[in-house]
Every structure is written in structure tokens, then in C-alpha cells.
Assembly symmetry: C2
Homo-oligomer: 172 residues x 2
Amino acid sequence: MTKRPADPTNGSAPAARQVPMRDFSRSLPMSLLRAREAVMRQFRPSLREHGLTEQQWRILRALASIEAAEVTELARTAFLLGPSLSRILRDLEARNLIERKTAKADQRRSMVSISKEGVKLMASVAPTSEAIYAEITSRFGARKLAELQEMLGELEQSLAGLGAGNEASAEE
Amino acid sequence: MTKRPADPTNGSAPAARQVPMRDFSRSLPMSLLRAREAVMRQFRPSLREHGLTEQQWRILRALASIEAAEVTELARTAFLLGPSLSRILRDLEARNLIERKTAKADQRRSMVSISKEGVKLMASVAPTSEAIYAEITSRFGARKLAELQEMLGELEQSLAGLGAGNEASAEE
DNA sequence: CGGAGATACTTAACATGTTAAGTGAATGCG
DNA sequence: CGCATTCACTTAACATGTTAAGTATCTCCG
């Protein structure tokens, strides 16, 4: 077992010496991926016991906090792409955890809300979930956690409107 | 439209008032997810133009830096689960971007290495990729970037060996 | 030597990520 | 009004994430 802790200086890696590139394992995307995985690993078992995936849980939480919402709004809140959300809502509806009804004013839109059962399920998961979050906060440090989230927000901000690319040129 | 900026006190939301929970959108997993997505959004178009997904690119980079590796080692380096890696290697091999040969000493293991074509493809992608990384570094700030990665690493460390749970008790 | 148990992968099955296309309902404009 | 556009979703298709099984090897101990 022993985990083998990343091995910094890597020693070897003789051939393929052309494109240096940052040590791959230290790239920003990898750092973010690993950090997130380390966090999620804590929550998944508990969610799983309640028959929920991470994304389903995100949707329930989002719905519990905004009462009812259109699909598009929900996608933005839960940070899911439309197609994923569409599938998940279909399943959650089949399990009676959410309810859906098309808006009268605009037949295209549908309002989604959490059901009584959904609320009940959330109530049964929330305590454990909160406890885990508290443990994480305690281990990492509340202050550092706040700082980290601050930086993550800034990173997001600094990249906003970059990938859009064709913001006002080339019409493809 | 108007975005509706999170709305702290949430005003409404009369029902479901039981479990407060942190404002969902500010949870650590969400912060990490959004930050990572903001970053990856920059790279995906370029990778896509070269017919590569994010994961395939991770594997090629990993292979380029370690010459040859067993599947398990590669999985650890590229931070992919075995099953994902298995599928991706099958595809990359079919595209002649990697090569595989079973180890003589242990028929179970197979050594994977990047092919000449693979190296060529990497060379064609790397410049753009590096340019994007440089732009991100410049926008966010090199120093802050280093700090952020430092914190992410610490977060990972502080959670290491927590999720393992049954470390030395309950045999399920 | 032989077979139980551990290893290193690979398959399978189901859920989501990601992009493109499809569908039905609103809108805008001539 | 008529119809091309735009909208809000949903489907489709392919790739990966995630957990559980399956397969061939290898190890080790009796």
C-alpha cells in the first residue's frame, strides 16, 4: 500500500525531451481536479447510501433554496449543462422527488420544484453532509477555506469572457 | 434577465425552511468545480481542433514525461480511474498514438508508451496550450497562481486518509 | 506441486459531460 | 396575418466517471 506521495523530482524521464511543459501534475487544471476529488470523496459514500449522486444532490439543494425555478435557471444555479439536467430531472421526477408543471404564460418553460418527499430526503441527508463539511473546514482551517474560496472566485472572474473568443469579431 | 445575484437573505422561500445549510453556490465543491470549468473552457476548443479530449491529452502528456509506464502507474499520474483509462488506451492505440506491450516478467502488466505519431501530435498542440496557460497566468497573476496551487495542495493533504474511513476498524 | 488469495487489468452497467440536432412554442417584422 | 427567427427545452451520440464483476496471472504457503 503506502500511497506513494507523488514523487517530486521524478528523476528519470530521459527521452521525449523536446517540449518541456510544466510538470504536468502541477498544472492548474490538475490541481483543481485533485482538490475537488479529495473533497468529493468525502461526500459520495453518504450520498450513495441515500441513492443520490452528486449532481442529483446539487439539484435538490438548489431547488430547496429557490423554491421553484425554470429549467434554464436551475441549470445555471446547479452548474449543470442542459442535457444533463434534462435527464436528471426526468429521473428525479420518476422518483417523485421533484415536481414539474409548464408555465401558463409561456408553454415552452416549465417550473420545477422539490416535492414533499424530496424535502424529506434532503432532511435525512443534510446532517451527515453538514458534519462532513464541518470536518473538512476544521481540518483545513476556516480562515484558509475562506481565503481559498476567495481566490477561486477571483480566478473565475479573471477568466470570465476570455473563452467566449468571438465576442465581437469573426462570425465563423 | 438581470442575473439575480445569489440573493443572500433569499426573502421568499417560505416552505422547506428547516435545514439552512450554507448557501449552496458557495460550497467548496462548487467553487472548485466552477474554477476548474473556467480554466478548462479555455483549453477545450484547441484540444478539440486536434481531435483530443481533455483526458486523452492528459494521458499523452503523462506518457511524454515518463517515457513508458504500466497502466496502473499511468492511471495515478493522469489521475484517471482504471476503467476510463482502459477505454481511452484502447482508442488511442487504435489511432496509433500510443504503443502497448506486455511485460515479459509479468504477463499481467503492460507497458504503455507514446508513439512517434503521438509525439508529433503533442508537438502540434503544445504551443497553443502553453500560450493559453501563459494568458491565464498573466491574467490571474503568477504569484497568486502559485499561492492558489499551494493551498489546493494543502487542502488535498489535509483530507488525505479521511475518506478511507475503515482504515483500521469495521470490516463491513 | 497445487490451489487459495492477491494482482493488474478489462468489461459491464449506469450516470453525467459535452456538442450537435431536433421540437414545439413564442416573437418580430413585412 | 404569415413566416422566418429565436427560445426553452429535449434527444441523440459519443466520451468519461464510478462502482461492481470478470479474467488471466502471479504468489505463497502447505
